[in-house]
């Protein structure tokens, strides 16, 4: 039985292609009206999971495996009955039909008893054309449209059938950066207007964090973490999540007296560290480090400034550690400062300064989920 109230529930889904496991025992529950992003590198299984939810592929058979949409087990429905809206990465528009006919397709192929009359079809398609702002392109053909326009048509086509869920497979992957950003914003606005339960597959973390209500970070066939953008970015649950999202510095240290120790720095771990002596990996985001010209307390590392780069709203400083004590840091430390702080410090290339930890996350060497 499906969990009450979930729009999509994938339960213990696995999928193996030959000898390669694309999905390993994955479970996911999406609430009504939510926009969830499946985020991960290629090969993480996100597209496979999406296609299984759409019914385009079958999961490996297993007694406990099931996929429910609105409480109904989809394996009991024929593919053409499922009312799933699917947007393909390369649009899959019907090349020999006009924009209008593409959008109207799902309505035209309905069996006679549920098919709307012609006038009604025109009205609905007209509405959708207005929504995607392509009203004047109704009679054009896909080959005459730009990539961004085609993707909007693909979306309208999927929405025309009033789907239970909307699934998007890297919808903006084939477009260039500017168009991607515009469409991202547009999708978010559209979802606010028409809150269909949606699942979006993407490898672009900016996209996922910007658009989604919740993000499932996937790696090698598993979901590493499923939470709000804030949760996954600021409270990453595993090493993969913290390295995949945003920039990060990695320090190697050891566990001593219940803390992770790197040189003279000691970090509280996010969970209890059982074993003294174990090596620990400490991940620090660039904005979680601070620079001081003079050492205020012992808990900082001496480093030399290699490069200073003004990047938009922040200043990025690249340093190399100068401590003779084996710090275990990689060759460079990246710190992000606000312009204000940078001006306060008045540092230059070649200066010797101190890098201080503001916050950090610790993972043990053999940390696995």
């Amino acid at each position: 039985m499906a969990q009450a109230g979930t729009a999509i529930e994938a339960r213990r889904v696995s999928r193996t292609f030959g000898s390669w496991p694309a999905l390993r025992d994955v479970s996911l529950a999406v609430n009504h009206g939510e926009l969830v992003a499946l985020l991960g590198p290629s090969g993480s299984g996100k597209t496979t999971l999406l296609r299984i939810i759409a019914g385009l592929e079958q999961p490996d058979p297993h007694p406990e495996t099931a996929v429910f949409i609105n409480g109904v087990d989809i394996s009991r429905q024929r593919p053409d009955e499922r009312r799933v809206g699917f947007v393909f990465q390369h649009y899959a528009l019907f090349r020999h039909m006009s924009v209008f006919e593409n959008i109207a397709f799902g309505l035209r192929v309905r069996p006679k008893n549920t098919r709307p009359i012609e006038k009604e079809i025109r009205r609905r398609v007209g509405e959708l054309l207005e929504l995607i702002q392509l009203g004047r392109w109704a009679n054009q053909y896909p080959s005459q449209l730009s990539g961004g326009q085609r993707q909007r048509v693909a979306l309208a086509r999927a929405l025309a059938i009033e789907p239970n869920v909307l699934l998007l497979d890297e919808p903006f992957g084939a477009l260039d950066a500017r168009v991607r950003q515009e469409l991202r914003r547009w999708l978010r606005a559209l979802h606010a207007r028409i809150p269909v339960t949606s699942v979006l597959v993407t490898h672009d973390q900016e996209e996922a964090l910007e658009v989604a209500d919740r993000v499932a970070v996937m790696n090698e066939g598993r979901i590493e973490q499923f939470g709000t953008p804030d949760e996954v970015f600021h409270h990453p649950a595993s090493e993969f999540v913290v390295t995949f999202l945003g920039n990060v510095n990695l320090f190697h240290g050891r566990v001593e007296s219940g803390k992770a120790v790197i040189g003279r720095l000691a970090v509280d771990a996010s969970r209890a560290l059982p074993a003294n002596g174990d090596s620990a990996r400490v991940f620090v985001r660039p904005h979680e480090l601070d620079i001081e010209v003079h050492q205020t307390n012992g808990a900082s590392v001496r480093a030399r400034v290699l490069r200073i780069q003004s990047a938009g709203s922040l200043v990025r400083v690249e340093l190399t550690p100068e401590d003779d004590e084996a710090l275990g840091a990689e060759d460079t430390i990246n710190v992000e400062l606000t312009h204000e702080r940078y001006r306060e410090l008045a540092i230059h290339n070649g200066d010797s300064v101190f890098v201080r930890l503001r916050d950090a996350r610790v993972f043990l060497e053999d940390y696995t989920i």
Binding site: A54, G55, L93, F94, R110, I161
Partner: protein
């Protein structure tokens, strides 16, 4: 296939001219001359004799059989071509390349052998020979044999045109259509068919030309019974062997006209498919 500009020659002009001259002469003498000869020979004794030859009773009967054979062969191989290309292009299964080679098999078989195999199956000494005699069914030396042999010879024509095209077009549009609620025939009729229509027509045209013109295979199977089991090409042979050259060339001229029309339609369709493909190439970028 990219449309290349034809300005990339670095041969000296005299060499270019010679090559073009040699090519044109070779083709003109080898290919064009016979076509002209057909009409020249046909009309040598004047229009009246020509007209009489092609409206002759036996000629009309041969025409009827030719048209019937072509209609059945083209239809049968059209249905096959659609089924085979759907199976091969839209699904994954083991043995696909073997299947493709088998479909191409009739191409590699001599026309005489194509007719022979049916005599071996259905002739008096054939595998089913006795059974057919007992049930008073005539296949060899009768129309069914002619039709079967023609189906064999023209077997791959439609499939060969459709398969590479459908493989290239992929399965996404059909998947999208199913998710949008379309059922089997709807998917085929509304999505696939419009995408393959020119290649389909092209295959049908080629299949038809070959079906109407097949000689060797049909010659073996038909028994050459005038007025009953003769197709137009066979009728040409009979007339020629009787030294009735005017009539032979007259009937041949009909077949030549058919070949010329086929070539014209073929060229038009090629131009059409190329025009269709160009915007699609931009889509892939």
């Amino acid at each position: 296939m990219l449309i290349r500009p034809r300005s990339r020659h670095t041969e000296p002009p005299w060499l270019r001219f010679t090559i073009i001259l040699v090519a044109a002469s070779f083709v003109a003498v080898l290919v064009l001359l016979p076509v002209i000869a057909v009409f020249s020979e046909a009309l040598r004794k004047g229009l009246a004799v020509y007209a009489a030859s092609i409206t002759d009773h036996d000629a009309l009967s041969a025409l009827r059989l030719t048209l019937l054979t072509a209609a059945i062969s083209v239809t049968a191989n059209l249905v096959f071509g659609l089924a085979a290309s759907w199976a091969i292009a839209k699904f994954d299964f083991p043995g696909k390349s073997t299947l493709l080679s088998l479909i191409d098999l009739p191409f590699a078989v001599s026309p005489v052998i194509s007719g022979l195999v049916f005599v071996l199956l259905f002739g008096a000494q054939g595998f089913f020979g006795q059974w057919l005699i007992d049930h008073n069914v005539q296949i060899v030396f009768a129309e069914p044999g002619v039709i079967l042999a023609t189906i064999f010879v023209t077997f791959p024509f439609v499939a060969r045109e459709l398969i590479p095209l459908m493989q290239e077009q992929g399965t996404e549009e059909e998947e999208a259509a199913v998710l949008l609620g379309a059922r089997g025939w709807q998917v085929f009729r509304r999505v696939t068919l419009p995408n393959i229509r020119w290649a389909l027509l092209y295959g049908v045209v080629l299949c038809n030309a070959r079906a109407m013109g097949e000689f060797g295979a049909v010659s073996v199977v038909s028994g050459h019974i005038r007025g009953r089991t003769n197709t137009l090409p066979l009728h040409v042979e009979i007339l020629y062997n009787e030294y009735n050259f005017r009539a032979a060339f007259a009937v041949a001229s009909l077949l030549t006209l058919l070949a010329v029309v086929t070539l014209i339609v073929k060229t038009l369709l090629e131009w059409k498919t190329r025009a269709d493909e160009r915007p699609l190439m931009l889509e892939k970028q």
